[in-house]
């Protein structure tokens, strides 16, 4: 059986599965139950100055009958007294010395505020800190969370202030509500961050009630934007992790967060450069026991791949993630339909006909309906294979190169080389 234990910037954990700072990590009772269920670590619900919460707080988006495709909340940081949280962190760490307990922190962007909270929390014995520069609602209006997390200078400074007193690793949790996350990631590193985590939630409104015209959720007929998470945000989070992982100036471990629901999602984040992964929505939807299959599934996967440790999986896809300009323009795939497997829903035909390149023909052979791709017209967009419900009916087949590989960037430099040459000849 593969070794699932990780060393994340010096934080040791029996497996890469951590609960994200959120309702599941609100109290010692919950975190201890989570550790019993198998979670390797927990980022405690964000600690800071006392706040007040509203009711209601959550809403979810269903997609075609599947509940909780996306999840939206307007909850703030912990609403429990700091002393209570610290006592419970201490007790939990004592009971589970080998599990990772990371304290999430958020205070006003002032040096003394950061110094004070880091000292207080450090004293109870946490394995690390996570600075919450991400919460997009409520706290942001007070100049904290995403509001400070969107300003690279503030990210750098606050990280620096925390690091001045921190004796355990400091993770900076980044907000996705920004155009280029690598900019704030780099700022965190300039401030001395030992690691980064992403993503926090994305500005969102879950919906509008068509009868009452209220927002969803609403607090006494009034609404405000919240933060979006759950399966729907996974592709956004995965890209942000990938962008940071491949950035040559970002050389700290990454904790991947956003829409992770099972071991497969987790493995994708790990391949994309995460050393640990954090989960919130999936645990809120199904309970702590989901971690059992995360552990079992990842372990079986590593065994199948012949890897001795999960650390060997970290970042394996990163070298394959690049810029559009570095993709081979002469690589070509075309769709191929296997009529023996096809169930004749014609979805591929209409998708291609109405919204792509009109190259899937319908015809009959001995009275039997058939489909065929005109390969010379197929641009290899994948759409038909995406909409096809019959597994194996459409395969995207690789064509042999008719021309040597060439990327856009290579092409441009070749053209400018030509231009330079011809101008020098002309000269």
């Amino acid at each position: 059986m593969a070794d699932l234990s990780i060393n994340f910037a010096g934080i040791k954990s029996p497996n890469p599965f951590w609960l994200a700072s959120a309702p599941p990590t609100n109290s010692g009772y919950q975190v201890q139950r989570a550790f019993e269920a198998g979670w390797g670590g927990a980022v405690w619900k964000t600690l800071g100055d006392p706040i007040l919460n509203v009711s209601s707080r959550f809403a979810a988006v269903s997609f075609n009958g599947q509940k909780v495709a996306g999840f939206n909340n307007i909850e703030l940081i912990t609403d429990r007294p700091l002393e209570v949280n610290l006592k419970e962190i201490y007790e939990t760490k004592k009971r589970f010395p080998n599990h990772a307990i990371i304290a999430s922190l958020m205070v006003e962007p002032k040096a003394e505020k950061w110094h004070e909270i880091v000292k207080k929390v450090q004293d109870v014995g946490v394995d690390g800190f996570e600075l919450n520069f991400g919460c997009p609602h409520g706290m942001a209006e007070r100049g904290m969370g995403a509001a400070s997390g969107q300003v690279p200078d503030l990210v750098e400074k606050q990280t620096y202030w925390a690091k001045e007193y921190a004796q355990v690793p400091v993770i900076v949790k980044l907000t996705p509500n920004i155009t280029d996350i690598t900019v704030t990631a780099e700022a965190a590193i300039r401030g001395g961050a030992d690691a980064i985590s992403m993503i926090n939630t994305i500005n969102s409104l879950a919906g509008v009630d068509l009868n009452s015209w209220n927002t969803i959720p609403h607090v006494g007929n009034k609404g405000a934007h919240g933060g979006y998470c759950g399966p729907a945000v996974k592709p956004i989070a995965l890209n942000m992790v990938g962008e940071c992982a491949r950035n040559p100036y970002i050389n700290v471990p990454i904790s991947g967060i956003g829409g992770i629901s099972n071991w497969q999602d987790a493995a994708e984040f790990i391949l994309m450069g995460s050393t640990s992964v954090q989960v919130c929505t999936a645990a809120m939807h199904h309970g702590f026991s989901i971690v059992e299959d995360m552990i079992d599934g990842l372990s079986n996967y590593l065994d199948d791949k012949g890897l001795a440790s999960v650390m060997d999986l970290v970042g394996k896809t990163v070298p394959k993630y690049s810029d559009w300009g570095d993709l081979d323009l002469n690589y070509k795939v075309v769709a191929e339909i296997n009529n023996d497997v096809c169930i004749n829903c014609n979805k591929c035909h209409i998708a291609c006909e109405d919204t792509s390149h009109q190259c899937i023909d319908l015809y009959t052979e001995d009275g039997r309906p058939m489909l065929k791709v005109r390969e010379e017209d197929c641009v290899g967009c994948n759409l038909c294979s995406i909409v096809c419900p019959a597994e194996g009916a459409i395969t995207m087949k690789e064509l042999v190169h008719t021309q040597p590989p060439m990327t856009w960037n290579e092409r441009q430099s070749l053209i400018s080389g030509f231009a330079a040459n011809s101008s020098s000849i002309a000269r």
Binding site: N262, H286, I290, D293
Partner: protein, 445 residues
């Protein structure tokens, strides 16, 4: 044996496609402390194995099933799921229950095809256990004991191991290769199976007592009892279990175009009847002295038989098998019955005088349940109640403290159901009871 007949005995259902299994697995709510698990006699963690199908952790899924149920591949096919897990699924009231049996089959089929090793026995603890009978009860007990480090020997009277799973349940519901695979899994753990060895004849119980630390009796039930009516020894009168067993060995054409009557209305009767249809019988009737309400076959089996074209004759009591000069069956004489006083439990059955009638038939198949194992129980010297071995409620220990009993052989005194899954659980229970006792006595280091 003809090829077309062989086709009739292929498994009816091909199994879920990957697409169907994925859709169905994602439909499961992953309930907490769910009723489906409580309704499974072997307590398989159903949401866990289903969630693992959804996440494509097939090895993990199969492990969850096989860990709880050593005959999980058979159970996926023969469990009366609508009476058990699926009947309890919370989605019954919302939509339709999750197809737990089909998903269980999907996961165990994956395991059979990939044939990865799931379990490793603990180091040998030096204790030896003899198990009599290799049906689901015996196999399950053997699997659990082998994993705990015991040296296990199974004695099986028949030529092949597997019990009724191998010989008794029709192959279009449970193919023999599935049972052979399950037997192999148990053998892979080091369990020795001595086939064609009947306890009481080939080996005596005293030999076992002298050579083993404990004995588990898992011999099931016996043959179908005689009807005790005239003409029962004519050619063309069969024991339903022998009849099914023969169909599993070879597809004779003795039923081709013939008429058959099956007596009884339990699941064995249904199997014998549908088996006759598949052997090419032209007309198959089930004769039962009570009505459809009292029959013990499950509703889904009844429906299955009707779909196969089996006819039912209720309130008819067989009186005499009629033969021709050559001693071959040509008919069955019955008498009509009247059911009165139904308010009081099963009601009172009385014959209607003068209502005798004859069903023309070429075969009469007895399917009125199975006889008790009187002879063997006597040989073992165990206390019993009308042929059902007396056992302690939790430990399944018999009147001889070195002998335990499980499965169909203790069915009838309030222990479980005569089902494969119940036999499997009792097999596990007896194994744990032995382990607990030997541990408590510090007989194991």
């Amino acid at each position: 044996m003809s090829n077309s007949l062989a086709k009739n005995f292929e498994e009816i259902f091909d199994g879920l496609t990957t697409y169907a299994a994925t859709v169905e697995a994602n439909r499961c709510l992953y309930c907490y402390d769910p009723p489906c698990v409580k309704a499974c006699p072997t307590s398989i963690n159903i949401p866990s194995f289903i969630k693992k199908i959804a996440s494509n952790n097939m090895k993990g899924s199969a492990r969850v099933i096989m860990e709880a149920n050593p005959v999980g591949a058979s159970c996926a096919r023969v469990c009366p799921t609508i009476e058990l897990c699926e009947g309890a699924c919370v989605l019954n009231s919302e939509e339709k229950p999750i197809q737990i049996g089909h998903l269980q089959r999907y996961a165990t089929d994956w395991l059979r095809e990939s044939d990865v090793n799931l379990f490793t026995p603990k180091p040998a603890n030096g204790k030896k256990i003899a198990i009599i009978g290799s049906g689901p009860a015996g196999l399950s007990a053997a699997r659990e004991l082998a994993l705990l480090g015991y040296g296990v020997t199974i004695y099986e009277a028949d030529e092949k191991a597997g019990g009724l799973n191998y010989y008794g349940i029709v192959s279009f519901r449970l193919p023999q290769d599935v049972v052979e695979w399950e037997v192999q899994q148990v053998q892979n753990l080091g369990v020795e199976i001595k086939t064609s060895t009947k306890i009481g004849e080939d080996v005596l119980v005293d030999d076992l007592l002298a050579n083993f630390d404990r004995i588990i009796v898992a011999v099931g039930m016996g043959k179908v009892p005689m009807l005790n009516i005239e003409g029962e020894h004519l050619e063309g009168v069969y024991d339903a279990i022998d009849f099914v067993k023969e169909s599993k060995a070879s597809f004779t054409d003795k039923m081709l175009g013939k008429k058959a009557v099956v007596i009884g209305a339990g699941n064995t009767a249904i199997d014998a009847a549908t088996c006759s249809v598949r052997l090419g019988a032209e007309q198959v009737q089930i004769v039962y002295r009570r009505t459809s309400k009292e029959m013990t076959a499950y509703d889904f089996e009844y429906d299955f038989a009707k779909q196969d074209g089996v006819e039912f004759r209720w309130l008819s009591l067989p009186k005499r098998v009629i033969g021709d000069e050559a001693g071959k069956v040509i008919g069955l004489e019955c008498i009509k019955m009247k059911l009165t006083d139904i308010e009081n439990g099963k009601g009172t059955l009385t014959e209607i005088p003068g209502s005798e009638f004859v069903i023309e038939t070429d075969a009469v198949i007895r399917a009125i349940g199975q006889a008790k194992q009187y002879e063997l129980i006597e040989h073992l010297g165990l206390a019993n109640t009308r042929g059902v071995i007396d056992v302690e409620m939790n430990s399944l220990k018999t009147s001889n403290p070195k002998i335990y009993a499980c499965g169909d052989v203790i069915y009838g005194n309030g222990y479980g159901e005569a089902t494969v899954v119940s036999a499997a659980q009792q097999g596990k229970d007896s194994a744990y009871a032995i382990h607990y006792e030997l541990n408590a006595n510090s007989e194991i280091a």
